[in-house]
């Protein structure tokens, strides 16, 4: 069994608990062992650097320091956490003066980090470590006929990522296809959902969410699948607000990749957290569950 | 007899003198063994500097010279010449690099001066042991090989041929003409490209001194300046050039079509075809991938209808070898394929085309007969031209392709001339620096072309229109402009096989992938390999005037070499002492230049002076120590090392 240090991120303990449940279930089924990083702390996401730039590196770096001791790749299902850790790693590499400061700060907490942790997004692990063929071979409940719009969001594929293209990403498409489902064309698949601004500037964010829902819907999608907890929250929980504000009537269930995968792999729906979605996926997935 | 050495320390202005204490080094040099005189001067390579050396050689009877200055790459040949003019053999000169390897790599004055002293000491000890060597001359084959038959190759070939020398002009495509042939009108004068190019092409064809080999490729090069041998693979056309009259009936009758490469895939050609009507030579080739005879053994329509009986399906590939004195590489550029820029919609959305594709649309002999139309067949009402596609972009090519601003404006003019369409030019900076270029820009402005200073990130399709979403940076507002056609002004990039060509001709490439010139300002067409030149867009993106100028520049250099008639052979080669040679043959296998032969009768190795480059591999490898590298003898090298370490105390050895 391939082992990884697992960093769920704050959302997976709260609004995206379904993601955590389904990731654990699917990993077990695919032969991956996820060992949750002990006593991990919030990564601070993209907003911490507006408050303090040094803390914004050091606070997530605590997690990397803890993970380094385990010697495993650190895998996270959250795109924001993934980007934050990537930023820490690359800044420590590019700016030696910054690294000196960070070393000092970590030392004050009795920690040290040598830049050795390889941070992976869950999608990368599924695509490149497990592989679409391996996944397809384990599918017992192919999702034939299910029209899926795979939503990447921003931070998964931008500014750049080794396993996919920022403008025309394909990784989620391929993973969804390996489950037997049908991927619909989806021009807004990598457009921002505005998650970081949805509380403080809902009017702005709702406009962005509308665009994504509209794009999926007009291309015949029956559901949207995503690999980021913040995206799921935006598209799912705020769908009602979008409908009210813009007079639309979207009822698009937004599920996590791991939930869809779990279904195709024949896992128990209860274990996959389908009951947590605000827009219920029950009707759409009825013929597959 | 003790050597009499003169040592000259160059200030090189502030380059050396600001970091190295030249006075101290001079004083140090004066105190070295066998040094008769040590001086320092601001610019040793200047005329007064050179004269200082010459005068000292004469007045002080110097027989060896050391110059501590820049890299030998820069001025070793300069000072060697100075020595010889004053009567001292050039191999009794040694250069110490106290600039690139000393003053330019540190700010620490103490360390730099210390190192300079060590380098000078090394050079002095070495030069004391150097031997005069005879410089041999080899004849120059007064023929040239020009690789690539675009405007650059054509110009170079004509210039050399006009001087009465033979030129082999090798072109990969079935016809010469290159990319210039694909253009419609050329900026800034709006000359028709074919009209100015075809007379040159005809001249090439009929010139008695030019041997034109089209549909051919150079596959091997050996030798050295003045004496190259090139192997050229002549691909079979399956049409006998000597019989073909160029009547074109074969193409007419051929029932099989393919996308025309010349028309950028926008039009069709036949399986037996000439790429364009004015092809030189006007002899078709058969595309064996599309020709049904080659695929299935049937048809043969061309053969049936050819009155001159010129079709020859039995033709085979031929490899010919030519001997030339100089090679000019004029292989041109490739047009950047914008497919990877997903957000521009090239090949995804209708009516998004590249610059070269637009040239073909505009051109009267192109796929639409010169009508600027959309894929639906109607004329566009508005056209957007996006600059800098693939250029000035860290994601693709960082450099500026130089000609796109001008050709973009040319497109605007051509569109306004023949349609009623609105034209929008989306640019970041406008580069119109050549002769008549700014005036052309003024003209285009006067024609009502709309310039929007913006680099649009995306082209989307909406209700049958192409929408450019951009920020008008000068007005400071977001714009959405709907057009019918988008022209992407694509970059000029190195040819896809530039790496292989570089290897073939021993060329280096700069970071942008184009072939590297010897010096960007002072030797823009020469390369680090003597006798091989690179001209035109193969060296970097440029317009036609510059290309032609470079071609003539290289031709002039080649003609100078031919006029001299001989080249000097570097004498620092290796020599086998056949008495010591044990006949093991290790050196023969190791020589990268195949310069060593094993003499079977005497069972000893012999080195060809002319092929030997003096690399030293055989010298190091010979187990019997029978090979000496002239000018790099063991004694000389050890003396140099001793000079470097002269003031280093040996370490205490622990017992």
């Amino acid at each position: 069994m391939k082992q990884y240090s697992y960093f769920p991120g704050c959302s997976l303990k709260a609004s995206a608990v379904a993601y955590d449940l389904s990731v654990r279930a699917v990993s077990a089924a695919l032969g991956i062992e996820l060992i949750e990083l002990e006593d991990w702390n919030c990564c601070g996401t993209t907003v911490y650097s507006a408050i303090d730039r040094l803390e914004a590196i050091c606070v997530p770096c605590r997690n990397l320091a803890l993970a380094e001791k385990k010697g495993l790749d650190l895998v996270t299902p959250c795109s924001a956490c993934f980007r934050t850790f990537e930023r820490v790693n690359s800044y420590l590499r590019l700016y030696p003066l910054l690294k000196t400061k960070v070393d000092k700060v970590l030392a004050a907490a009795g920690l040290e980090y040598h830049g050795k942790v390889r941070v992976r997004h869950l999608v990368d692990v599924l695509l490149n470590d497990v592989g679409v063929e391996a996944i397809a071979s384990k599918v017992v409940n192919p999702l034939h006929g299910l029209k899926v719009a795979p939503y990447y969001g921003c931070l998964l594929v931008r500014p750049e990522v080794a396993f996919d293209d920022p403008e025309n990403p394909q990784s989620l498409d391929r993973l969804v296809e390996s489950l037997g489902a049908e991927v619909v064309p989806f021009p807004a698949k990598n457009r921002c959902c505005g998650a970081s601004l949805v509380i403080s500037n809902p009017d702005l964010a709702l406009g962005l969410i509308l665009r994504i829902l509209e794009s999926a819907h007009s291309n015949g999608a029956e559901c949207i699948v995503t690999a980021c907890p913040l995206c799921q929250l935006s598209l799912d929980a705020y769908q009602g607000m979008v409908n009210r504000k813009f007079g639309t009537r979207y009822e698009l269930p937004v599920v996590f990749l791991s939930q869809l995968m779990g279904t195709a792999l024949g896992l128990e729906p209860k274990a996959l957290g389908f009951d947590r979605g605000v827009v219920s996926p029950e009707k759409v997935l009825a013929r597959h569950l | 007899m003790k050597p009499r050495i003169g040592v000259y320390i160059c200030h090189c202005g502030a380059n050396i003198a600001d970091t190295v204490d030249v006075e101290a080094v001079t004083e140090f040099a004066q105190g070295l063994d066998s040094v008769v005189v040590a001086r320092n001067y601001r610019f040793m390579c200047s005329e007064p500097g050179q004269n200082v050396i010459k005068e000292d050689i004469e007045n002080l009877q110097l027989d060896r010279v050391v110059v501590a200055a820049c890299s030998p790459q820069m001025h070793e040949s300069t000072f060697r010449r100075v020595c010889e003019e004053a009567g001292v053999n050039r191999y009794l000169f040694q250069m110490a690099n106290i600039r690139e390897q000393c003053s330019w790599v540190t700010h620490d004055k103490e360390q730099a001066t210390k190192k300079a002293k060590a380098l000078v000491a090394a050079a002095v000890r070495r030069v004391a042991l150097q031997e005069p060597l005879e410089v041999r001359k080899a004849p120059v084959t007064p023929c040239a090989l020009v690789v690539g038959g675009g405007i650059a190759g054509i110009q170079a070939a004509l210039d050399i041929a006009e001087a009465g020398h033979k030129v082999y002009l090798v072109e990969r495509e079935p016809s010469i003409g290159g990319h210039m042939m694909q253009l419609d009108k050329t900026f800034p004068t709006l000359d028709c490209s074919a009209c100015i190019l075809t007379p040159r092409m005809a001249q090439v064809r009929s010139h008695p001194s030019i041997e034109l080999m089209t549909y051919s490729e150079v596959v091997g090069v050996s030798g050295y300046v003045g004496n190259f041998k090139a192997k050229i693979r002549r691909k079979p056309r399956y049409v006998d050039e000597s019989k073909c009259t160029g009547c074109g009936v074969c193409s007419e009758k051929c029932p099989w079509t393919a996308d025309s490469e010349f028309d950028m895939g926008l039009g069709k050609r036949k399986a037996i075809y000439t790429p364009f009507p004015q092809a030189v030579p006007n002899v078709p080739v058969i595309d064996t991938e599309r020709c049904v005879y080659f695929r299935k053994g049937t048809c043969r329509a061309c053969e049936k209808f050819c009155e001159a009986k010129a079709i020859d399906f039995e033709q085979t590939e031929k490899v010919v070898e030519v001997e030339v004195g100089a090679i000019i590489v004029a292989t041109g550029y490739d047009s950047f394929d914008p497919t990877p820029i997903y957000q521009y919609g090239y090949k995804r959305l209708d009516n998004v085309i590249t610059g070269l594709e637009f040239e073909r649309l505009c051109n009267a002999s192109g796929p639409t007969g010169g009508r600027i139309i959309l894929s639906s067949g109607r004329e566009p009402e508005s056209v957007a031209i996006i600059h800098c596609v693939g250029s000035r972009d860290r994601n693709y090519h960082e450099y500026c392709s130089k000609v796109c601003c001008m050709y973009s404006m040319k497109f605007a003019h051509l569109i306004r001339e023949s349609t009623a369409a609105k034209v929008y030019e989306f640019y970041i900076d406008l580069r119109s620096a050549g002769k008549g270029y700014e005036e052309f820009y003024n003209r285009v402005l006067d024609e009502g072309v709309i310039f929007v200073r913006s680099h649009p990130p995306e082209v989307v399709s909406e209700d049958g229109k192409l929408i450019i979403e951009c920020e008008d940076t000068l007005a400071g507002c977001q714009s959405r402009i709907a057009v019918d056609m988008v022209i992407l002004s694509t970059a000029l990039e190195p040819r896809a096989d530039a790496g292989e060509v570089a290897r073939l001709f021993s060329l280096s490439r700069s970071a942008d992938g184009f072939f590297l010139e010897k010096h960007p300002k002072l030797a823009p067409v020469a390369t680090m390999t003597d006798g091989i030149f690179v001209v035109g867009c193969a060296q970097g993106p440029k317009d036609i005037p510059e290309t032609v100028a470079q071609a003539s520049a290289a031709a002039a250099a080649v003609l100078a070499m031919f006029a001299r008639g001989t080249i000097e052979i570097e004498a620092a080669t290796a020599v086998v002492d056949q008495e010591l040679c044990s006949g093991c043959g290790i050196c023969v296998a190791l020589c990268p230049y195949n310069a060593i032969t094993f003499l079977e009768d005497r069972k000893v190795a012999e080195i060809n002076d002319i092929l030997c480059k003096g690399c030293g591999v055989c010298v190091a490898a010979c187990p019997a120590g029978a090979i000496t590298g002239r000018h790099f003898t063991d004694k000389q090298i050890l003396a140099e090392i001793e000079g470097l370490l002269a003031d280093v105390k040996p370490p205490l050895v622990a017992i």
């Binding site: 000092k104 004050a108 921003c154 | -």
Partner: protein, 244 residues
């Protein structure tokens, strides 16, 4: 007035000509003082290159090389030097129409030394860090990073835009992380709305309820064990000048 190249004589002079040259909205004295202090501590030769002139009440851009360099001296901020003002970023930005100044314009204003305009604008607070600009920028500039640097400076100097409540959101989140090591969504929202505008919370009550019902908004805040480590980190970071 100073002749070009002549050194200035300390903060008093800067204060005088800054107050003449700048269009300042809000409490003038404080902000001018802050900038004068910055000016006085900057390298005199670079700052004195510009000659501020006031003609008919119109102000001419102060030579702002200092401000751009301030950004460029931050790790991740050096890319501001590479901008050629092509506008790719602005046109890619999904939120550009909400911004007072587009991303490209912000960079231009920074370079022109319009510190006040930039730091008090809402532009960077509208950035969702989606990086569409970064992916397309021909010079490879990380625009959201520049936005974050500006946000940080604006926060530090108390200029964080009062027109938008995003700064308060960021602050709330940072406080929570510093204290508990985890982000507790319910607590976050509560604190945020209390800090800014409790009535705005009403709009989100339907969403909140739905999430609560589906057990996606736990009441209890989780706290990590290593809070003392985090405290030490935050303390040491702030001692070191907080990334300055």
């Amino acid at each position: 007035m100073l002749a070009a190249g002549e050194a200035s004589h300390g903060g008093q002079f800067e204060r005088e000509w800054l107050s003449r040259a700048l269009y300042v909205a809000g409490p003038v004295g404080e902000q001018v003082d802050a900038m004068a202090e910055m000016a006085a501590t900057k390298d005199q030769t670079t700052f004195d290159r510009g000659m501020p002139m006031s003609k008919n009440g119109q102000q001419v851009a102060v030579d702002g090389y200092g401000f751009a360099e301030e950004i460029a001296s931050e790790p991740g901020g050096e890319c501001i030097r590479w901008c050629v003002q092509c506008g790719t970023c602005s046109a890619s930005c999904p939120n550009v129409l909400w911004m007072e100044h587009s991303p490209r314009k912000i960079i231009a204003l920074v370079r022109a030394g319009k510190r006040q305009d930039v730091l008090s604008s809402n532009s960077m607070w509208c950035c969702a860090t989606c990086h569409l600009c970064t992916a397309r920028c021909p010079k490879g500039i990380d625009v959201p990073e520049l936005m974050h640097v500006l946000e940080w400076i604006a926060t530090r100097e108390g200029l964080a835009s009062g027109k938008i409540s995003t700064p308060a959101m960021h602050r709330t989140l940072a406080d929570a992380v510093r204290r508990q090591g985890r982000m507790h969504e319910l607590g976050l929202m509560a604190r945020f709305f209390l800090r800014t505008n409790p009535l705005a919370a009403l709009k989100l009550i339907p969403v909140g309820l739905k999430l609560l019902l589906r057990r996606r908004l736990p009441f209890r805040a989780e706290k990590i064990k290593g809070t003392d480590q985090l405290r030490a980190i935050v303390k040491e970071a702030q001692t070191l000048g907080g990334g300055k």
